[in-house]
Structures are given as C-alpha cells and as structure tokens.
Subunit: 426 residues, 2 copies
C-alpha cells in the first residue's frame, strides 16, 4: 500500500475532485525521512500514505504546523507505533482516521477523495457508507459508481486508533447530506456507546448493517483480519435490534435497501399489492413478499370492481395481472386506484416484455403516480437484463427504486417495512 | 397477443435467425378465415399466431398438407376449441406445442426463433430452459441474452394440450446439445411420469427447477394463471428430491446455477477453500459458504507451510488472504497448491481492486490453473461493478463461472455440490 503508483492515484483523485487547495508532497522513502526538507504547511486535513515510521514522522510535522486531521492510509503499525500516533494526536489535538484505512474517505459534496482507485467518484446523493474492511468498502464503492447510486460520503475506518465507529455514526447522524447510513462491520470496540449512538440516530434516519464473520469459522479469521474482536453473532443481532439497526445479508441487499430508504418513505403496514403485466413473475413476486414476512394485500371490493369494470378481462385479485399489452394509461389508473386503497401499504410494480415495444412513457407513469401517494412506498421491477437497462435509463434517477428481479424488490419492501416498524416504536 | 406488430416481430426473427426455408402467411383476420385463399404448404413446423378460431382453421389446413408440428402462440381457447385441437392432432398425427405458449421456441443451433422479442437470440451453448410462464420465460431469455449465457434451446410450454413437461424433459434428456436443463414451473399434470422421466435424466445431466406459487396465496393465484394445478409446496419439494432435481429460489439462482453446472464438474465433497486478495470479502464468502451448508476446508499443513514459505507475510489459513498486490504469479501458484490439496473439494477465488491496476493476465490465470484440476470446481468472484465487468470481458467465455458477489458464488458451489451428491447416490 506504499506503492508510488497507488500514491499517484490518490494525488490524482485529490486534484481531480477536491474543490479546495491541495499540496502534494512526494517523499522518497529511500531518503532519511527525518531530514526531508520539503515542508508541511498548515492545513485542515493531511493524507499520509507512507510506511509506518515515515508516516509517524510526517504526522508529527503535521501536528507542529497545526494540521487538524489526518487520514492515514497504510497499515502494519506495531504496538509502539500506534502508541506514538496516539501521543501525537493528544499532544496536538489532531483527529486521526486510521491507520490502515486503505482507501480513506470520499465526500461527494466537497470532492475530497483519498482513494487509490483512479478516477473513481460516485454520484452525489444521500447514502453514507462506513466500512471496517478496505476490500468490502472498495466493492461497495465500485458498486455505487457502476450502478449510479447517489452517495454523500464513504469512510474506511481501518485500525481506529482515534476516530471509531461511534464517532462516525455520530458524524453521519448529524450530517444533513446523509439520509441513510450503511455499515459494513466485523466487530465493534465500544459496544454500549455504539448502541446508544445508533439508537439516537435511527429515530431520525435509518441505519443498515452488514456483518462479516457471522459463522464461527469466519469469525475466527476475522479476528486476525482487523484490530477489533468479532463478537458472537447472536450478541450482534440483539445489539442491532436494540439500536434499531436493520440487518442485511449481503452487499447487494445493503445497497438495494439503502436505495429504497433513500428514495421512498417507510412502509406503515405489512400489506403489499403487486401490479404486473405478466403472470409468472407476479407469482414469484408474491412468493417473495410472503417469504419476507409481508402479506399480499386483500384489495377493497370497490377498488377491485372499479378496476375490473375499467378493464374487462382483468382479474383484479392481488397479484393484479394487467395483461402483457398494458401501457402507461392502464398502469397509471390501476396503480393510482391501488395506492388509494386503505388495505394497501405498499406496491410492487412489475413492468416487463418491454425490449421490443418499449415507450418511455410506460416507465415514467410509475414514479409520476407514486409521487401522488408519498406515504406508501412503490418499487418497480422491469425484470430481466435489457428490459431493466431500458427502464433504468429512463427513470433511474426518479424517486422509485428499480430492481431487476422481483425477489430483490420484496427484500427492499421488507427493509422499508422494518424501518416503518422501528419508527412506530418511538 | 394477436397484434400485427408482434406477428411481424415473429416473422422477422424467423427470417433473421432460422437456417431453413420459411414462408410467412400474413392472414387478415377481419376476412372470413375459412375462405382465405393463401395456401398452407407442407412443412416440418408451422407457427400459428391468430385468435383461437382462426388458429384452428389454419391448424386443420396444416394437418391436411402434412405439417408435422405446430407452435401455437396465442391463448384464450375455450373447452370446445381445445377439444377440436386435440382431435386435429390425433387425426393428422401432428405434435402441438401450446396453445398459449406466448413465445414458442428458440433453438440456437438451427436458428429457429418464434419469439416476438425482435432480434432477441441468446448465444449458442448447452443450457436448455423450459418455462411454464411466458413472463418468466421472457425474463430468463432476456437475462440469457443480456449476460451472454450460452443456451441450446428455450421452450415455452403454454397450455400443454399435447406436448407437456414430460415430453420436453424426455427430449432435452436425449438432446446432445443440452448439458443442463432449467425448469420454471407452477404445476405439473402427470406427476408420476414427470418424476420417473426426471430420475432417468438426472443421472446423466442436471436439472434445476424454480417453482412459482410456493406460498399458499400465490399458489391460489397460480391456479387461475395456467391450466395446471399448483400442488402444495411440500409435495413438490419431495418430488424434486426423489427425481434428483435441484431446487433453486430465484431466477438469478436458476441462471447462476446453470452456468456453474454447464462450465464446471460437480463437487465431490463439502470442503471449500477461499483464495482472495482482500480480507473482508473473503470473510463474507466464508459466511456464505457455511450458510449454504458447505465447510471451509482445513488445508493440509504441508500446503499451508509451502504457501507461507513462498510468500512470507501471508497467513495461509482458509480463507487465504493473498494480500491486495497479488498478481497472476501468486494467484496461480497458490490456486494450484490449494487444488492439489486432498482436503479441498472446490475453490472460491476472489479477485478484487482491479479497476485501476487491472492486467488481463491476472484474470486469465484462474481458468488456466482450474483447467489442470478438472475434478474440482473453481468459481471466481471479481466482486463489484466495473471490476466484475473488466474480468468478465477478459474471461467471461472461459470454463470458470464468474459471479459479482461472494454469496452468489457460494450458492453456485452449493448447487455443484448437490449435483455431486446426486451422482454419488447412483
């Protein structure tokens, strides 16, 4: 992690994206580091990417000239070196993120980007990510960039000699640019404080967590992988519940859940209506909704008969099959009627067979109608590959989250429901 | 489904892809269908896409001139109309697929393509798909095309007045171009025959099944959606087990499992080694492997010490973390050593942080080494978005299946293990 190539990438990213002033000191570590003449200047933040001893030397120089915060990228610090860093932090009142943060921080608003993935910058948005692992964080960052997910900040916590999970939670809890907080964690140091801080935040904004090292064997490994101790999984589960943190099972669920929470309001009941133009995928969606512990809404008779009289041939039992030739008009009318039904808490739309006769209006009607019923979440499934991409290109930036398969949309609704339940408790 | 636009798409696909001779009869259904003068000619196969009455008239003409098989696209046949079709099939000895197949058939080898998704043709390969639902089939087809999955044939079964699941199973069981059979089903008519036929086939080639209408409420709906009766889910589960059919939970698992079975040999034990250049994703992979009921292989001491002496600083406990700067040489050596270990039955490779310093050789080494150990399956996870795409572009056509997240690769290994167990029983 001290390769000049990676260092150049960090410098490149800082210059390319950051809106403030930057100074790059390219220190040759083959020289006697204590005698390097290049001077460190006062700054709000210094990014240090050198082997441990050289990093400490530079950290001290930073402290002396009044640098307020350090992002320390590299790892491999021994006990004495960590102690020395903590002394510097206390002596100069600097905050330190790391060491061993690997990728450091990304802030889409200020343009701060200390990652070594050249040119990698997610779209501006309101999802914050905190990762205890460089690898998982890098995967989440790549995922966010590739799928155009709107991000406020990324933080890679590393060895946490100073800034820790609680500090970051506190920060993101207050951060007006962050609406949803995503955590990847393997262990936690100050468990009680973490729960207390999270409990305060989850009343205001949702926190999603993916826990690594769930199984005992992986957990044993996790112990050596980061500096913190991976607790038993049951303890984590109880802690997450107590804190109001919504737990997810994979990187994809973490991102898909965050997108749902960022775009839609929580769901205030268990009853889901499925509005589809194809039968089979609607049946799979029904299976998934029930598997997630949600219910298939029993539509009001008045709504059913209204739909059936408007569109003879349609059976408006939930899942509602609009038939393959449904266009914007039919989708719009039925979706509106269903969202007005007091027996419906949220809607899963399926919008398929579009490749050959796609019209943008067929996609746009969904967020248009959904916006009229902001209290009830709507998720949309243009199931498949090209079908998904076409709809994504058309309404990917709308407030309706899109998923390429019904089971993923059902998980998203489940997460919206869990957050709804959490809020009801308070 | 009788729209002239869709009809034109079917004709377009037939002309574009089919290697044989085609004649398109564009019949105007506003005319008196009995008196249409256009003559039907002798042929191996006729595709009929007209409303029920008109379809029956044309089916009879086909029978009279000796057409051997009909693909009947449209639905909506009443009892008398079905009876009439069955009479025609018996009188003329024609085979009928449908009616209500929606998309009909695709054969990547002969180029036969009766779907109305204009220009949609999957890559040639050895995965066959049979779908009881037009919508799910269309989604699978779109998925296969979009992700470049190699397909032998697609069949949309529809109302099964003649050709049914058992016939199709039998056909694909014998088909030398098909190595893996994927089923989407909501119900089955001749349950006993279906199990008997599947039992014979699964000794020779794997069958994967996704069942729709699992939950009671969806099942009730499924009943009205297709002509067959959706059985209780437990009965299906028992039947699948008895038949040696591997059951999956989603469209993505169906496709990912088929890719694994098509490219790799079954796994002959439960022990998985994880070879990764990042810690966190390897921990998540370990969790997923254990969640799937597989085990993390305990490497032989000799293999461990060999790896650790070759690469000081690496802890060769499984999951093996090769450290982020691992390149082709380190991946190749370690993967080869691990595959030689008799305690290892299969390997999950994680290959990350590639976006900025990707070299094709780093990806190519994985299938190169895997090919030397054909009895042990290897799956590769270039986790993320762009990272995945880069590696996919490089080795997407190799014999090593690629997944964008570790949990998906663990499911693939589980499916390879299930097929291995199935074969051991015989």
């Amino acid at each position: 992690m001290t390769s000049p190539y990676l260092f150049k990438n960090v410098a490149y990213n800082m210059k390319k994206f950051f809106h403030g002033t930057i100074r790059v000191l390219d220190i040759d570590i083959r020289e006697n580091i204590e005698n390097i003449s290049e001077s460190v200047e006062p700054a709000d933040l210094a990014v240090v990417m050198l082997p441990p001893h050289a990093s400490i030397v530079q950290a001290e120089k930073c402290g002396k000239v009044g640098v307020k915060a350090l992002v320390m990228i590299t790892g491999g610090y021994d006990g004495d070196q960590r102690k020395r860093l903590i002394e510097l932090k206390e002596k100069f009142g600097m905050r330190i993120l790391g060491p061993n943060t690997i990728m450091g921080v990304v802030n889409t608003s200020s343009g701060l980007n200390t990652t070594f993935e050249r040119g990698t910058m997610p779209r501006k948005g309101d999802i914050a990510v905190v990762s205890q692992s460089g690898g998982v964080g890098a995967c989440l960052l790549d995922w966010a960039c590739y799928y155009g997910i709107g991000v406020s900040k990324f933080a890679f916590v590393g060895d946490k000699i100073d800034v820790d999970d609680v500090d970051l939670l506190h920060y993101f809890g207050q951060d007006s640019q962050t609406k949803v907080i995503c955590l990847y964690m393997e262990g936690v140091k100050a468990g009680r404080d973490f729960i207390d801080e999270a409990r305060k935040i989850t009343k205001l904004k949702p926190i999603l967590a993916l826990k690594g090292g769930v199984a005992e064997e992986s957990a044993r490994r996790a112990k050596s992988h980061t500096a913190s101790i991976a607790g038993s999984d049951q303890i984590f589960d109880a802690a997450f519940k107590k804190a109001g943190i919504i737990r997810v099972g994979s990187i994809e669920e973490l991102m898909n859940g965050a997108i749902a929470l960022s775009k839609q309001n929580p769901m205030h009941g268990d009853s889901v209506a499925i509005v589809s133009n194809v039968g089979g995928p609607a049946i799979l969606a029904g299976d998934s909704v029930l598997k997630q512990g949600l219910r298939l809404a029993r539509l009001s008779e008045s709504v059913k008969s209204k739909i059936e009289s408007l569109y003879p041939g349609i059976d408006a039992s939930n899942p509602i099959d609009l038939i393959a030739d449904a266009r914007a008009e039919r989708y719009g009318k039925v979706l509106d009627l269903v969202l007005r039904d007091k027996h419906v808490d949220g809607v899963l739309v399926i919008n398929m067979l579009k490749s050959t006769f796609f019209r943008p209006g067929d996609a746009r009607i969904v967020p248009y109608i959904a916006a009229k019923h902001p209290r009830k979440p709507v998720v949309d499934v243009p199931a498949g590959g090209e079908d998904f991409e076409r709809v994504y290109r058309t309404i990917g930036n709308s407030r309706v989250p899109l998923y390429n398969l019904p089971n993923k949309a059902a998980v998203a609704l489940k997460i919206l429901r869990e957050y709804g339940k959490m809020l009801q408790k308070h």
